[in-house]
Amino acid sequence: MARKTGGNIKDLLFERATGAFAFLVLFLAVLLFAVLLRESIPALRKFGASFLVTGTWDPVLEKFGALPFIYGTLVSSFLAILIAVPLSVGAAIFINEFAPPWMKTPVSFLAELLAAIPSVIYGLWGIFVLVPVLRDVLMKPVTKYLGWIPLFKGPVYGPSMLAAGVLLSIMIIPFILSVSREVLATVPQRQKEAVLSLGGTRWEMLRIVIGQHCIPGIFGATILGLGRALGETMAVTMVIGNRPEAILSLFQPGYSMAAVIANEFTEAVGDVYLSSLVLIGLILFAMTLAVNLAAKWILTKMVARASRGI
């Protein structure tokens, strides 16, 4: 990287310009954080750390707490991951390893097309198709027989944490699927053939190559999906029920951080109210950052272990 003296001026300019762009990205992130922090000061002053654990959201009395929103964002996102990861990884394996050639392109094309649908369309589809189906086919029978389990407690309304989780899972499947396919495709053909030539079945072959080679990549894909799920706003608010309460049952309505900001920001009057919404934005920002940093860290460990293993 040593710079040659009397080097090309164009090179120097190019380097400086790209450097400035890179710095600009960093600067924007810092600026975003700073503005969020500044605007949330009135709420921080009034509520302090108790904001994180308070479950009341009362705009009339100006008493605010973020607990139900944090809970709703986390639960709906993890539910989405729980559904989407096995589905996407399974589909990726099928498309890459088993599907007849004429099927590969249309199936993967259609799956990736899901990523191009605007979230408001997902939301509308959620209200009019997904929620009634989930309510009548899944939630009502389950709550009838398994309602004693706190997770499935009724009464069933339709819009719920479960509906949000399922809808989110459909929205993040294309991301996890396409990254998983890329990861599977990086496995050297010779390694696969080696397992098969030693008398391994296809299942054993997959288990070994995935276990050895693909786990970090699939984990990365999962984090990509999680990032999208945490910040999704429109589709979630349309099916989650928008009830600021942290309830264990997945069949009950909940709320998410992004949704409450989108819902209440335009009509929020009063400094503390507005500032509380900004503070929720700050928490969401910090949460996404934390998830990504943790993921990076785990990923490094995984890659290190995987490369040792082979």
């Binding site: 009341t56 959201w57 009362d58 705009p59 009339v60 009395l61 209200i127 009019f128 929620v131 009634p132 309510r135 009464p155 309304y157 339709g158 819009p159 608010t237 349309m238 029920g241 928008n242 009830r243 600021p244 309505p253 709320y255 949704a259 989108a262 819902n263 209440e264 920001f265 335009t266 009509e267 929020a268 009057v269």
Partner: protein, 348 residues
């Protein structure tokens, strides 16, 4: 090469014409605020600009709160709101402001009950009881005794409300606060409140979606929205003890009932208005303009437009499902418009 020069010359000529035309551009009046009257205002702006090509309008329907913020900051020429400004809010203003009523809206209860026709009767206490979570089943004796001709189903009531901050919610909760002491003590009024029960839907369409998709659901939406989507609407007992169905006429009647006691600044709530035909959950929507205009031409254009809006404009309201201002109110507004001035000179 010649061709390219020809094209270039053409482009230059067009640019010249465009810049010349922009010198004679119509006056643009910027406004921002309430979403509820947006369809009406769009129609007004279109019709008015057609008749008066010298004036153009640019209206951002960002919500009443946003409209108040922008007129306070002076970034728009007029604001629009569904809830009158508070005393506190008006203290922050750089000058005196006028609330000019332009139209009336009504909020109506809608429900989804198989086998139950439209027009189910509610009293203020029953409606408040449902939204407080105290009446939880449709065959509750309090509902059944009001509707003896209907067999009420033995079903859970699913309560739906708006999740986004809105003037509709403000009018609805203002009504419940006015008619029910328990609601006043526990919840209060505002564009968003801490709902004791229920599911939140985003926008009128969100509430309508929950109601339509959920058997046994009740919600509240704007009258226009309920009408256009052919939803089952309930009737409500008003201040005089009579059950009225929500119609444009009943909404105008609420304003007429209030006309006598209407303050000169028009910052009045129409909920639970007197009058035999009055629909009790009605409200005004206002345009906010400063009394002292900074720009004579703009100020004049706004005043002329408002004069037109409360006369010719009112005739367009019914077609768009807004209730027109009753005559006594129009006369009162006309007086207020004369106060808008530039350097002490009325712009009327």
């Amino acid at each position: 090469m010649k061709k390219i020069y020809g094209v270039l010359a053409g482009v230059l000529a067009m640019l010249a014409v465009a810049s010349f035309a922009s010198a004679a551009d119509p006056l643009t009046i910027n406004g921002a605020g309430a979403t509820f009257p947006y369809p009406l205002y769009s129609k007004w702006f279109y019709e008015y600009s057609n008749a008066n090509p010298g004036v153009r309008f640019n209206y951002q329907s960002i919500g009443s709160g946003g409209g108040i913020k922008q007129i306070t900051a002076g970034t728009v020429n007029f604001g629009a709101t569904d809830a009158p400004m508070t005393e506190e809010g008006m203290k922050k203003l750089p000058g005196a402001i006028l609330h000019i009523p332009t139209a009336l809206g009504a909020v109506v209860p809608v429900y989804n009950l198989d086998g139950v026709p439209a027009g189910l009767k509610f009293t203020p206490d029953v409606l408040a009881g449902i939204y407080l979570g105290k009446i939880t089943r449709w065959n509750d004796p309090k509902i059944a005794e009001l509707n003896k001709t209907v067999t009420m189903p033995n079903a859970d009531i699913v309560v739906a409300h708006r999740s986004d901050g809105s003037g509709t919610t403000d009018i609805f909760t203002n009504y419940l606060t006015t008619v029910n002491t328990e609601w006043r003590a526990k919840v209060g009024r505002g564009p968003s409140v801490n709902w004791p029960v229920g599911i939140g839907g985003k926008g009128n369409e969100g509430v309508a979606g929950v109601v339509k998709q959920t058997p046994g659901a009740i919600g509240y939406v704007e009258l226009a929205y309920a009408k256009q989507n052919k939803m089952k609407v309930g009737s409500l007992r008003n201040k005089e003890g009579l059950f009225v169905a929500p119609t444009l006429e009943a909404t105008s009647a609420a304003a007429a009932g209030m006309a006598k006691s209407m303050p000169d600044d028009f910052r009045v709530s129409l909920v639970d208005a007197p009058g035999k035909e009055s629909w009790p959950i009605s409200g005004l929507t206002w345009i906010l303009v400063y009394k002292d205009q900074k720009d004579e031409a703009r100020g004049k254009a706004i005043v002329q437009f408002l004069k037109w809006a409360i006369r010719d404009g009112q005739k367009m309201e019914a077609a768009l499902d807004y209730a027109a201002l009753p005559k006594p109110v129009v006369e009162k507004v006309d007086v207020a418009l004369k106060q808008i001035s530039f350097k002490g000179k009325s712009l009327y």
